[in-house]
């Protein structure tokens, strides 16, 4: 099993559902620019039926960066325009798989 020391993929949970990918990336890049290989953003939504938070998956280049990232973002509070506070959770992503960069172009 991959030990905690060599895991590089994290998930940011409980982000505000209104946050945009660019706003989030801006915040992350302010400190961690160039230190991750891959980022995937999932927008949450709010409707009467269900509410879901936004999430982001990030694959860092080095395991040590994960620690620093978690120290900075875990528990970090985002406030949306209505003033609601969102306390972000940073965790190792349960699946550490990251897309292969050389994914073939589909000749179909």
């Amino acid at each position: 099993m991959k030990g905690p020391l060599d895991r590089t993929k994290v998930v940011l949970r409980h982000l505000p559902h209104t946050i945009s990918q660019s706003a989030l990336v801006e915040q992350i890049d302010a400190r961690f620019c160039g230190r991750y290989n891959w980022l995937s953003f999932r927008s949450g939504k709010q409707s009467l039926k269900c509410q879901s938070y936004s999430r982001a998956y990030i694959d860092f280049k080095r395991p040590e960066d994960v620690i620093e990232f978690a120290e900075f973002f875990d528990g970090h509070v985002f406030v949306n325009e209505k003033g609601t506070q969102f306390k972000v959770i940073v965790e190792y992503a349960p699946s550490q798989r990251v897309p292969k960069q050389w994914s073939k172009k589909d000749g179909r």
Binding site: D6, R55, D59, V98, Q101
Partner: protein
């Protein structure tokens, strides 16, 4: 009464087509064809919607979930980003279900357990993900103030989730390190079960079937003391065996640029 007729949702033609492929065309004989059609879609445009539909396994037939898993594995060759996202989403759904623990979500939570198991069967997630999920289900919320809401003492739903996952892929944990991991998990599982007290008959029968299927010779402990003793013994055994058992090989993942610095 002033009530307008229900307006049915109008979906863009591409979305309608995706739904037709996945929810009505898909079966054992058409899967190759459906895969080919999916590959022909304009991906940049359709990917988010496809992801949404793949996660709707609970809307389709339970017996067809393996087809969706198979499609995921089939697409990973050309759209790995998508296939990775499917796994991340399923695991998030499972986690979210534990956090919210709402009665109305049960059917879909069961479908997601089944989906995860099938993704393992199609070699799209590895066993460590399956076991991490199993343990997460046993312990999530325990020891917190919310324990009685997240896993009420008389609620057997988590047992049902675990049965579903192990029914789906447990028979592949029959040898090597994954066999040991399942043996170990099943003892922890037994402890969880015993803490629940007497079980409803339907669950008890399903458990009997599961154990008969996976580990016919395993002892079913009848008291917490017995199972605790077994766990202590297991731990001692693991500690003494550590030196000469084969360590599981590190998984080869992340082909991307930086293989991690050790």
């Amino acid at each position: 009464p002033e009530r307008s007729a229900r307006v049915s949702k109008i979906r863009p033609p591409l979305h309608q087509y995706i739904r037709k492929l996945l929810f009505s065309d898909l079966d054992k004989s058409s899967i190759e064809d459906v895969l080919r059609q999916l590959r022909k879609l304009p991906w940049s445009e359709c990917e988010p919607y496809l992801l949404k539909c793949f996660l709707k396994v609970h809307k389709g037939k339970y017996g067809q979930i393996h087809l969706i898993a198979s499609l995921t594995a089939g697409l990973s060759r050309y759209h790995d980003e998508f296939a990775v996202a499917v796994v991340d989403e399923v695991l998030e759904e499972i986690r979210l279900g534990l956090e919210i623990n709402e009665y109305g979500m049960q059917q879909r939570r069961i479908a997601h357990m089944r989906f995860l198991g099938e993704l393992y069967n199609y070699e799209h997630v590895d066993s460590s993900v399956v076991f991490d999920t199993l343990y997460l289900i046993l312990i999530f919320g325990h020891g917190t103030e919310e324990q009685d809401v997240l896993d009420p003492p008389e609620d057997c739903f988590r047992i049902r989730m675990i049965i579903t996952l192990l029914e789906t892929c447990g028979h592949y944990f029959g040898r090597g390190s994954s066999k040991r991991k399942l043996d170990r998990f099943l003892i922890h599982f037994q402890r969880y079960i015993l803490c629940k007290g007497p079980l409803p008959l339907d669950i008890e029968f399903d458990l009997q079937d599961l154990f008969a299927d996976l580990r016919p010779n395993m002892t079913r402990y009848s008291t917490i003391e017995e199972v605790d003793a077994a766990l202590v013994q297991l731990e001692e055994h693991e500690r003494s065996g550590e030196k000469h058992t084969d360590q599981e090989k590190p998984r080869n993942m992340s082909v991307s640029g930086s293989s991690s610095v050790n």
